[in-house]
């Protein structure tokens, strides 16, 4: 019958209209900013620096190795190494970043800085509502703003944080065991620091793939070989 | 010569004079539309409601749009024509002669009735009555004319492909 489709359509919209007042699951709108869509655990927005303990300056894990600065694709990390050293969590004197700035207007949240950091010092935060009306410095976060505690890291990424903590604890235990082993046998002393040095490097490399894919280990090896061969080449031609 | 009449007459004259004098074709038609509206208001002022509203509905609503469509489709905006034609003297002479004739006829006509005539009651009822009884034949002939015009317009506007299909 003519007009039948229109009447069916009208009935459908009327059902939608009155149903939206009756059953709340019809309206799937999330009323931001009062409500938020729950974020998954692997959410990443902008980086932050992890510190252990209570004091953010002394407990910061970052040793200003500047690997993340070099690997960052849009070059939004700006690091200035300090001139003095301070002891890190293991007790070893390390440099620390005197200036660690991230320009979050440039940062593209690619997480490469997190992937390459050998010290689990920089991790991804989950805060995205960081607008500011300060055009000239509001989006340049300095190291004080970037420093957040390990407890905070546990809050936002529990699985990751526990894995990192386990790995670090294991590494510290190994380092302590190696130190204890190095302290007792004297003739093995010159040999011990040599295997002890590459060991922390390989053992820090292994926990890093745990939250991420096991990629960073493999590419670390091949680039060294061509460099070695390339350095020998000019020697050969000359 | 009351104030409303003077205002409306001035508006009508100004509109139609602008329709002759303006350069842009569409502006001319819009000025002519102002003249039509003033004429409708004059009809209303004389008490002829039906004619006045029909004037607006037909002239302003349909004829003006027809005119603008025609000008829009045929007029080339790049052409700048000379504002005065070459034979403007002859035109002025003939226009003056026509105006003199009309003025004489109107002044002779109204001179015999100095007081305002009784207001004719041309209500819609009476108009409809007259159309259906006295003027039924002209009404039907006008209807036939309009139908012929409509069919002619459709034939002119129809696509030649559609015409071959329908033939």
């Amino acid at each position: 019958m003519i007009g039948n489709g229109i009447l069916k359509g009208l009935a459908e919209t009327a059902r939608n209209f009155f149903g939206s007042y009756v059953s709340k699951d019809r309206l799937t709108t999330v009323q931001y900013p009062e409500q938020h869509i729950p974020q998954i655990e692997a959410t990443r927005d902008f980086p932050f620096l992890v510190y252990d303990g209570a004091d953010w300056e002394s407990g910061m894990r970052c040793v200003a190795c500047q690997i993340c600065e070099k690997e960052c694709p849009p070059k939004c990390i700006l690091i200035t190494k300090s001139t003095d050293k301070k002891p890190d969590a293991v007790g070893k004197p390390q440099f620390y970043p005197a200036v660690f700035d991230i320009d979050i207007s440039v940062c593209m949240s690619c997480q490469i800085c997190v992937e390459v950091c050998p010290f689990d010092a920089i991790k991804m935060d989950v805060q995205f509502d960081l607008p500011t009306d300060d055009r000239f410095g509001g989006l340049l976060l300095d190291r004080h703003k970037l420093a957040k505690s390990n407890e905070y890291y546990h809050q936002i990424h529990p699985t990751e944080a526990t894995a990192v903590d386990t790995a670090l604890a294991a590494e510290r235990a190994k380092a302590a065991a190696a130190k204890a082993a190095a302290a007792t046998p004297k003739p093995a002393a010159p040999a011990a620091p040599a295997p002890a040095a590459p060991k922390p490097a390989s053992s820090t490399a292994t926990p890093a793939p745990a939250p991420v894919a096991p990629m960073p280990v493999k590419p670390a090896e091949p680039p060294i070989k061509p460099l070695a061969s390339e350095s020998s080449k000019p020697g050969e031609t000359k | 010569m009351t104030a409303p009449f003077l205002i409306l007459a001035a508006l009508a004259v100004a509109g139609t004079a602008a329709a002759m004098g303006l350069r842009n074709g569409v502006h001319c038609v819009l000025a002519l539309t102002v003249g039509f509206a003033a004429l409708a208001a004059l009809y209303l002022q004389l008490g002829a409601q039906f004619v006045g509203f029909t004037q607006i509905m037909v002239y302003v609503g349909a004829v003006a749009i027809l005119a603008v469509f025609a000008i829009m489709m045929t007029h080339h905006p790049g052409l700048i024509e000379a504002p005065f034609s070459r034979n403007w003297l002859w035109g002025a002479v003939i226009a003056a002669a026509v105006f003199a004739t009309l003025a004489r006829a109107i002044s002779l006509g109204t001179a015999s009735a100095p007081s305002a005539p009784p207001e004719p009651s041309a209500t819609v009822n009476q108009i409809g009555d007259a159309l259906m009884h006295r003027y039924i034949l002209p009404l039907e002939i006008v209807g036939l004319l309009l139908t012929a015009a409509l069919i002619g317009a459709v034939i002119i506007a129809i696509d030649p492909k559609d015409r071959e299909e329908s033939e």
Binding site: M1, I2, G3, N4, I6, G9, L10, E12, T13, A14, N16, F17, S20, Y21, R26, L27, T28, T29, Q31 | N24, V26, H27, L30, T33, Q49, F50, F53, T54, I56, M57, V60, G61, A62, A64, I65, V68, M72, T123, V124
Partner: protein, 400 residues
């Protein structure tokens, strides 16, 4: 006067009484002008206010129909949104294209708003509440409505833009095509009432048999005429599903593409005012104007009933907008000339039949014959249209 108990008659006529009281304060020489001004001000206040409320209602209503909230931030449940919209449109930069015809570009929205407001002059909003009781009221309304087309053309042409010119041509074609069925659908009411004056038409619908009113809606030609009138009114005011001339996804707002800021707001206002005016005319012609629907409800004032009926029609417009997809231009024009116009002519014939068939008990013969004559082409059309659709199984030649 405050101490005396206000009867329902007083409440019904309260605006008339206020106007007479104010007029008594004015010296006699200025009374005609003062009377005109005092009558015009309520129209200028009430209908733009209704326009503001309608914009919010529409957005919220459409939202609920589409299973989402409408605007709900500004004010309680979002009902101050029109204030925000008004401030936005007033403060936006008025961009006029360099090659536009400035005089006509400026005059187009003004003419449109004038034409839209003029239509309210003959509408009876309550008992004794009409601005001018013209003998040819319906004719005046349609005459003013035809000025709208001219201003649409002016708007589209003066912008000197392809989209706006195309949109204006389409809009004018649509408006002219649907004006004929609009007038023909109202001719049946004029035939029955015997007068072009809207006050007379309302008064001829103000009787009651038992509790049921004598509205023209409750006759077969009245129902058909009302439906045809509403379809034509939807098309006249360029509303969905006939909003191709101004559809954002089709022609990027058509003839008001080059207007911004306040002029755009004026176009919007004029479109909605036109919608209200044609709805008010439909109420006056078919729904009994300011008369109450049931005889025991006459204690509620007449203007309240008018606005309630207007709100119902507005909600119906919003409902239709939320339901139907947009019609294509050729579908639109075909619908007007091939279906609505013949049905309107048939409706006039049926109204004549109604008048001359015997009005027996329950009017059963009249009803059956008239409904039969009106329904026959619809049924025949639905059968013939169904047969044309032979849905074949789709074959794909290249995709495996």
């Amino acid at each position: 006067m405050i101490a005396a108990a206000l009867t329902t008659q007083d409440v019904d006529q309260i605006f008339v009484l206020i106007k007479h009281a104010l007029l008594a304060c004015v010296p006699a020489a200025l009374q005609p002008i003062a009377s005109a001004v005092l009558s015009i001000i309520p129209i200028l206040v009430a209908f733009p206010l209704l326009f503001a409320i309608t914009t919010v209602l529409e957005r919220k209503g459409l939202g609920r129909m589409q299973n989402r909230y409408g605007p709900n931030r500004v004010g309680p449940a979002g009902f101050f949104q029109p204030i925000a919209d008004g401030i936005k449109s007033l403060t936006k930069e008025d961009v006029v294209p360099l090659s536009a015809d400035h005089a006509v570009h400026f005059l187009a929205p003004i003419l449109l708003v004038i034409a839209a407001f003029l239509g309210y002059a003959v509408l009876p909003i309550g008992r004794n509440m009409v601005l001018v009781n013209l003998n040819a009221g319906v004719l005046f309304f349609f005459a003013v409505g035809s000025v709208v087309e001219l201003s649409v053309f002016m708007a589209g042409w003066s912008s000197r833009s392809k989209y706006s010119l195309l949109g204006a041509m389409r809009a004018i074609a649509q408006m002219i095509s649907y004006e004929v069925p609009l007038v023909l659908a109202s001719v049946v009411v004029i035939m029955q009432a015997g007068s072009l004056s809207l006050v007379t038409i309302v008064e001829s619908q103000s009787g009651y048999t038992g509790i049921f009113p004598h509205w023209y809606l409750f006759t077969p030609w009245g129902i058909a005429g009302f439906i045809l009138f509403m379809i034509a009114a939807t098309a006249e005011s360029n509303r969905s599903p006939f909003d191709l001339p101004e559809g954002e996804s089709e022609i990027i707002a058509g003839y008001f593409i080059e207007y911004s800021g306040f002029k755009f707001a004026l176009f919007f206002l004029a479109e909605y005012l036109g919608m209200f005016a044609t709805s008010s005319l439909a109420i006056t012609l078919f729904l009994g104007g300011w008369a109450a629907p049931l005889s025991f409800l006459t204690f509620i004032p007449s203007y309240v009933w008018f606005f309630l009926k207007l709100l119902v029609l507005i909600c119906f417009f919003i409902w239709i907008r939320g339901t139907l997809p947009r019609l294509r231009m050729d579908q639109l024009m075909g619908f007007a000339w091939k279906f609505i116009l013949p049905m309107a002519l048939l409706n006039i014939f049926v109204a004549g039949l109604w008048r001359f068939l015997p009005a027996g008990p329950l009017n059963s013969i009249r009803w059956l014959v008239c409904i039969g004559v009106l329904a026959a082409p619809c049924i025949v059309l639905s059968f013939s249209l169904k047969q044309k659709k032979k849905l074949l199984v789709r074959t794909y030649h290249f995709a495996e």
